[in-house]
């Protein structure tokens, strides 16, 4: 690990702690978040040159506090409030660094609940979480989502403004409110993971490591919520999916489907960690959709080949998933498992039903139909269906993959 990488890792870990410290002191999330972001930028520049300070958390806290006070001071209209802020501070708060000596409360959960507030849209929740909790800069997040930095900056400041408008508070939701709020946090981390994972198959682009960031945050969430079966399930799902990452892309950046992947390239360490985590969670904690999805991923990861896969077990898990969290994509995946157990026609019959629902005209449904037609030996119909799926595909690598399959079927 280079100095720059270790500095970056340290800063990411410290970012939410410094922010929590400031928000506890001043209560102004939006202003404190800006100040911490500026302090991180100063540290990124200074630490690799001058070395990591003896008390890094205290150093960041001091710089961020100065920035915050400067910010308040610069705003002359807020002069009175500034005096109140400064007066409220202990005399030595701006210069001492006691936090490393006496580690303060970890505010990770409070920050995650705030950044993943239900009043925000999903893109805003992701952006704010990555900045305030993940310690990424606006330009890194903008690059990761392929939008201009200015757009991302606006998204962050609008999200903070929205939090103010709805009176969102820096605290742990209590009682009945807590469960749904945890689910939103898990969903946001899941979306960040997916954004990174699906992008990693694209042409070589400079993108911040969103999958790594999502795994890191899910790991910390699981540490703080050891009693949540779904926090464990989500982390396991990420580890078991990410484990296949090295094998899912060919040398030319083309997608390689599960059936054709070189399974010796799968990350065994991640698979073991994910499986162990999942086994413990399922034995002791309440069951939820992330655990079931992770179980399906684990069965794929443990199989030596497609033929070797425990399809009846996967089908049973999809049945459970449909009951826990019914959605058309789950039904589509279940149709594939059903075809593996009972033959392509059984799968095609289910697709026939699904075609009447919201998936009508969806390229995934067309791709699955094409795949099952090919398995059933109807190559001409399969070729047509693959072409139709390619026409409607939502991404370049998927489109290329589907066109190759179409050509293969047409060649007979």
């Amino acid at each position: 690990m280079t100095l720059d990488q270790s500095v970056e890792g340290l800063l990411r870990a410290l970012a939410p702690q410094v922010l929590g410290m400031l928000v506890r002191r001043y209560g102004d999330f939006a202003g404190c978040e800006d100040a911490v972001q500026e302090a991180l930028i100063v540290a990124v520049d200074a630490w690799p040159r001058a070395g990591v300070p003896e008390y890094p958390l205290g150093w960041l806290g001091t710089v961020a506090t100065r920035r915050y006070v400067d910010q308040v001071r610069a705003d002359t209209a807020r002069e009175r409030r500034e005096r109140a802020v400064v007066d409220a501070l202990p005399r030595d708060a701006l210069v001492t660094a006691p936090v490393d000596v006496e580690p303060g409360q970890d505010d990770l959960l409070e920050l995650l609940f705030l950044c993943c507030h239900p009043a925000l849209t999903a893109p805003s929740q992701m952006a704010l979480t990555l900045r305030a909790v993940g310690g990424l800069s606006t330009s890194e997040i903008a690059a990761a989502f392929l939008v201009p930095e200015k757009t991302m900056g606006q998204r962050v400041s609008r999200a903070k403004q929205r939090l103010r408008e709805v009176g969102a508070r820096f605290e742990l939701p209590s009682g009945p409110e807590r469960g749904p709020r945890v689910r939103v946090v898990l969903h946001v981390l899941y979306l960040v993971f997916n954004e990174g994972y699906s992008a990693s198959a694209g042409p070589a682009l400079h993108r911040a490591d969103l999958t790594g960031e999502a795994v890191r945050l899910a790991r910390r969430l699981h540490e703080r919520l050891p009693e949540s079966g779904e926090a464990a399930g989500l982390l396991a799902l990420m580890l078991l999916t990410e484990a296949r990452g090295p094998a899912r892309m060919g040398p030319g950046g083309e997608l390689i489907p599960l059936a054709e992947q070189d399974r010796s390239r799968w990350d065994r360490t991640a698979i073991t960690e994910g499986t162990d985590l999942l086994t413990r969670a399922m034995a002791t904690l309440p069951l939820g959709p992330y655990q079931v999805q992770a179980s399906i991923a684990a069965l794929h990861d443990e199989a030596a080949s497609v033929e070797d896969t425990d399809w009846p077990q996967i089908l049973a898990l999809y049945d459970i998933l449909e009951r826990l969290a019914a959605n058309p994509v789950v039904s589509l995946n279940r149709a594939v498992a059903l075809a593996m157990v009972h033959g392509p026609q059984a799968g095609l019959d289910v697709l026939h039903e699904l075609e009447r629902g919201v998936l009508a005209g969806n390229h995934r449904l067309l791709a699955v139909r094409a795949h099952l037609l090919e398995q059933a030996g109807e190559r001409a119909s399969a070729a047509t269906a693959f072409q139709e799926a390619a026409r409607l595909a939502g991404s370049v690598p998927e489109q290329r993959f589907l066109l190759r399959r179409a050509a293969r079927c047409a060649a007979g």
Partner: protein, 123 residues
């Protein structure tokens, strides 16, 4: 999810507004753009100069010709790209585009095109 919004019309449609109406429309379009910028949804926004040339394959080489826009029934006058939470939000933005409402059936409109992603999901 990103969407390309293509704004279609022609000279007659765009010139049909009376000056006072035009000033009001421009003000509304500016406010519309500013709203998208503030919400962090606007990725790009440009107007097009109606001096396009088309390059098409001729007998043995690509041939450059003017237009054919000015005679065309409707052509693209400007475009913007948004990055939004859902398909519904993209359509909501398109429906609220001021010129669509001002057209009053004179023609013109906006096309909503989902942009392809660079990456791909598991297959």
């Amino acid at each position: 999810m990103k969407y390309l919004m293509l704004i279609y019309g022609n000279k007659n449609i765009w010139n049909s507004a009376v000056p006072a109406g035009l000033a009001a429309l421009i003000k509304e379009v500016d406010a519309f753009n500013e709203g998208l910028r503030e919400s962090g949804e606007l990725v790009a926004l440009e107007g097009l100069v109606p001096k396009a040339r088309s390059v098409r394959m001729g007998a043995d080489a690509p041939v450059v010709t003017d237009g054919p826009y000015l005679e065309a029934k409707e052509y693209v006058g400007s475009y913007f790209v948004v990055d939004v939470d859902s398909d519904e939000r993209a359509l909501e933005i398109a429906r609220s585009y001021p010129a669509v409402r001002h057209g009053g059936g004179a023609g013109g409109g906006i096309e909503v095109w989902p942009l392809m992603k660079r990456g791909g999901s598991d297959l």
